[in-house]
Symmetry: C2
Subunit: 216 residues, 2 copies
């Protein structure tokens, strides 16, 4: 699956992955400072690979580094979340347009297999992952790997907040229905209908998340 990963993983890479996961899962909360010595000793490594990991995460937008003051977990304002959803809207609808004509049976089967997983009762903890993979599989036939990687980064940043959304159950069933509809339109190669549903899907997700952010 992750064919891009280096075979021999360096400590810095492992730490980057771990810290990223902690941020995504909310173990490290937005605005929280990251003390190098503390985290390094906890992980049983020196500060050198940790610092390299933090530099990488900073470039990816997960932490913010200020000289001589350290790294803090990045926070997204509501405006920034809205902007990220807008970027998704523009790029994902484009990819879907490209992907649908290029889809073969195997792609559609993969989408349906993913949808089955989404229906399993114990999905919630893995929802972020599975949901992204659904979209990824759908856009893969478009053959635009750079865009896909960019979108994954955006999804990761957003998912952190989706996890916090306690009222997710409400939007959850809707998301499943929309995913189901997307597959149907992909099957019938109905590009306009699929794109329009995807637009609604992304906008609905955005609306739900932003509403729940504004409450807090």
């Amino acid at each position: 699956m992750d064919s891009g990963l280096p075979v021999k993983r360096t400590i810095a890479d492992q730490v980057a992955e771990l810290v990223r996961q902690r941020i995504l899962t909310g173990q490290l909360k937005g605005g929280q400072p990251i003390r190098q010595e503390h985290l390094a000793t906890e992980l049983g490594v020196s500060r050198i690979p940790l610092r390299e990991a933090l530099k990488q995460l900073a470039a990816e937008g997960f932490v913010t580094i200020t000289s001589h003051k350290g790294a803090v977990v990045a926070e997204l304002s509501i405006a920034e979340v809205e902007e990220l959803f807008d970027i998704r809207l523009k790029l994902e609808t484009w990819l879907l347009q490209l992907a649908i004509p290029a889809m073969i049976e195997r792609d559609l089967a993969a989408l349906e297999k993913n949808l089955e997983e989404q229906r399993r009762p114990d999905i919630l903890p893995r929802w972020g992952d599975v949901n992204w993979r659904f979209h990824e599989v759908m856009y893969l036939p478009a053959g635009r790997p750079i865009t896909l990687k960019l979108l994954k980064n955006i999804h990761d940043k957003i998912d952190r907040y989706l996890r916090l959304e306690v009222t997710m159950r409400s939007g959850f069933d809707r998301a499943l229905r929309e995913h189901d509809g997307l597959i149907a339109f992909c099957r019938s190669r109905d590009v306009p209908a699929a794109v329009s549903l995807l637009e609604r899907h992304i906008r609905d997700t955005a609306r739900g998340l932003i509403a729940s952010l504004k409450v807090q």
Copy 2:
């Protein structure tokens, strides 16, 4: 201008900036390996800040790091260049749509000031910079800072190849005319005309660059 820069710049930041510039200007060519010890002694620093700089550049996509083998200057395939231009097309037309209704006289004046600079005879070495700033100023009123930063990164990656384009003179005058036209449409608030011209502008640039890449 660069208000986002840290006040106290760390060695790692300076090195990252310098290496990025060397890549952009072609002093470091695509595929070329970067030997840490060598570059570090040349710059008079230790390998630690250099390594942090390389991690950052890797996350930004300017170099590729392989464990225990080192960093090499990233190369873009023709397909990747095409994809980057496609992303530009989707995002920049969107930003322009948002920006035009929000433009005030000051923005238009800034565009014209930039265009004047483009007309100066000694522009070629600074073309990459000035050209990006034209687009940046044009999209700034859209109020989408994340997208803008993303686009800057894409421009940087592309500009490296634009610099190589020896026959730039041909596309150069055309670019100036198109920039001129864009300002006119912005002034008249003619969104459809501006967007359509911008589409052509980006496609023209892409076509010219890709043609010259295919020759080599």
